[in-house]
Amino acid sequence: MPDPKDPDLKDTPLLSVENLQVHFRTPDGVNRAVDGVSFAIRAGETLAIVGESGCGKSVTSMSILRLLPEPPARLAGAIRFEGQDLLGLSEREMRRIRGNAISVIFQEPMTSLNPVLTVGRQIGETLRLHQGLSRKEAEARAVEMLTLVGIPEPKRRVREYPHQLSGGMRQRVMIAIALACSPKLLIADEPTTALDVTIQAQILDLMRDLKSRVGAAIMLITHDLGVVAEVADRVVVMYAGRKVEEATVRDLFRSPRHPYTRGLMGAVPRLGAAELPGAPQRLAEIPGMVPSLKTRIDGCVFAGRCPSVTDLCRSHAPALEPKAPGHLAACHYAPKDALAA
């Protein structure tokens, strides 16, 4: 454990993922699901990881929790949580971290809750396991947790089963389970994708509110740029297993540097924009498809779909470099500010 009194550690990130590679061996070749991704999350920060299906965002989060079966997965690089490399831990040691210091909320609240156990029992499970509470204490704490996530009549609900709850309530229960042990890092993998917009609004408000009260760092995985704009501090954009851009949420939306990020933003209509003068009649398309991850890509991963591709892009992979203070992009032609480090 690092010494918290050490002044240098104030700037040490809570979690740092360094050159993470996750390869899956499949019958028809190696699938490079994540290929050299690095990022860091500071305490109390919300980092969003954005990308489309197959970009490796969920695999990255599963790797942090070491939930991928190895083999077929092969992990390389380092995942340092409070200075400790999670990739070097045994399953037993990992179990002490999961649900305790790092917890997770999945997309499907129905399939991630156990249908034959009461909600209270499921919230209490982590507390009894990690904090050694008695059954009684755990139930009392479960009621507190349900109150915290805004479920009415918590004393009654704590004895109910998941099927008795609506989708939004189930997701609140998932959040209660995740926060029960006051984690330092909460991984939320598409937490609102399966919910209706009015319920999504409730859950996003809840997450924001809880973050300021509990102080956990959040790693939010999503494909919804609207959700990113509302809750994230910093954003990592992933494409085909690599990080192509990283910036603060303001910089990213104000001046996206990577053509893929720009493409994504053009492809999403903005509510209210259709009535503005000069509103585009057509959405911007990103032509083509994500390349197969089973073949080695030598050049830029986005070369096959990029509107301003050149020969250089096809032969040489661009380095991820600062284009403005705190703004990284992997593109040979991304505009670069004079002040960039």
Partner: protein, 331 residues
């Protein structure tokens, strides 16, 4: 006024629930409870609302995937809701559907050629073999797929490509109306844009009417002409796009629009967060069905059901509040 392509009058679909003595349950789930709208040739009408509001049940009733409980569906000048299966068959050609999940809506054991040829053969559209071939080739070109793909199976395609096949299958019958039930919801952002553009191009080229069912309000605003907002089996507001999005009258529409996250950090909008969940359609609330969650509800809302009243310019809303008294919701 000319007859609309499709007119739906007071459509109801109640699902009888099991239980009760002798299996004669008296309870029913009122999935669609009195819905009326019209659709013109070449027009897009979007049905929006949250899960369980009955938008998919409307679509399925129009397709006669099950018979409606009551109400009328008039296609052109023919009433189709009470036609026998045989009499309906030739008319089915005119309404086609594109489904949400491109992975489960295509038969995995059929080649693309057979998937597309089936409606052409069923409705006897091709004069001969050569005509069939040229129709297949034209369909593939229309949806932007290579002609060689005809001999492949659905699993060989990506999600976006499969949705193109689904659209080609709908087009094969030369319909007047295509019902898109969450047809772009399962697709990735960049692919979604491709399919939305394709649907808009096809509508212009073929003068198609689209009934676009979606919960994605930004996409709806981008591509629709008119919008109908549904809540618990009823239309609470219907009108031209501009009026629904810029000056929504119903508090539910206002809340729905304000809940959509906008891709603009620090946009600083005031969001109307609705309390609680949608009530059960088995026992819908009395009076206005939205009163349990409405921030403006007063006594009358609990007792008397508001009617869909005109508020000007083809815009209707079912709310007891005087429209002008509502705080205008800036988009």
């Amino acid at each position: 006024m000319t007859t609309p392509l499709l007119a739906v009058n007071d459509l109801r679909k109640h699902f009888r629930l099991g239980g009760g003595l002798m299996g004669r349950g008296t309870r029913s789930l009122k999935a669609v409870d009195g819905v009326s709208f019209t659709l013109e040739k070449g027009e897009t009408l979007s049905l929006v609302g949250e899960s369980g509001c009955g938008k998919s049940t409307v679509a399925r009733s129009l397709m006669r995937l099950f018979p409606p409980t009551s109400g009328q569906v008039v296609l052109g000048d023919t009433r189709i809701d009470d036609l026998s299966a045989g009499a309906l068959r030739p008319l089915r050609r005119r309404i086609q559907m594109v489904f949400q999940d491109p992975f489960s809506s295509l038969n995995p054991r059929m080649r693309v050629r057979d998937i597309l040829a089936e409606p052409i053969r069923n409705f006897g559209l091709a004069k001969n073999r050569a005509d069939l071939e040229s129709r297949l080739a034209a369909l593939m070109e229309r949806v932007g797929l290579p002609r060689e793909a005809l001999s492949r199976f659905p699993h060989e395609f990506s999600g976006g490509q499969r949705q193109r096949i689904g659209i080609a299958r709908a087009l094969a019958a030369e319909p007047d109306l295509i019902i898109c039930d969450e047809a772009v919801s399962a697709l990735d952002v960049s692919v979604k844009a491709q399919i939305v553009n394709l649907l808009q191009d096809l509508q212009k080229e073929l003068d198609l009417a689209l009934l676009f069912i979606s919960h994605d309000l930004a996409i709806v605003e981008h591509m629709t002409h008119r919008v109908a907002v549904m809540y618990l089996g009823k239309i609470v507001e219907i009108g031209p796009r501009r009026q629904i999005f810029l000056a929504p009258r119903h508090p539910y529409t206002q809340a729905l629009l304000s809940a959509v996250p906008v891709p603009e950090p620090g946009a600083g909008r005031t969001r109307i967060v609705l309390r609680g969940d949608v009530p059960s359609p088995i026992n819908p609330p009395s009076g206005c069905r939205f009163h349990t969650r409405c921030p403006h509800a007063f006594d009358r809302c609990r007792i008397e059901e508001p009617l869909l009243d005109p508020v000007g310019g083809g815009h209707f809303a079912a709310c007891h509040l005087d429209g002008a008294a509502l705080p205008a919701q800036a988009a």
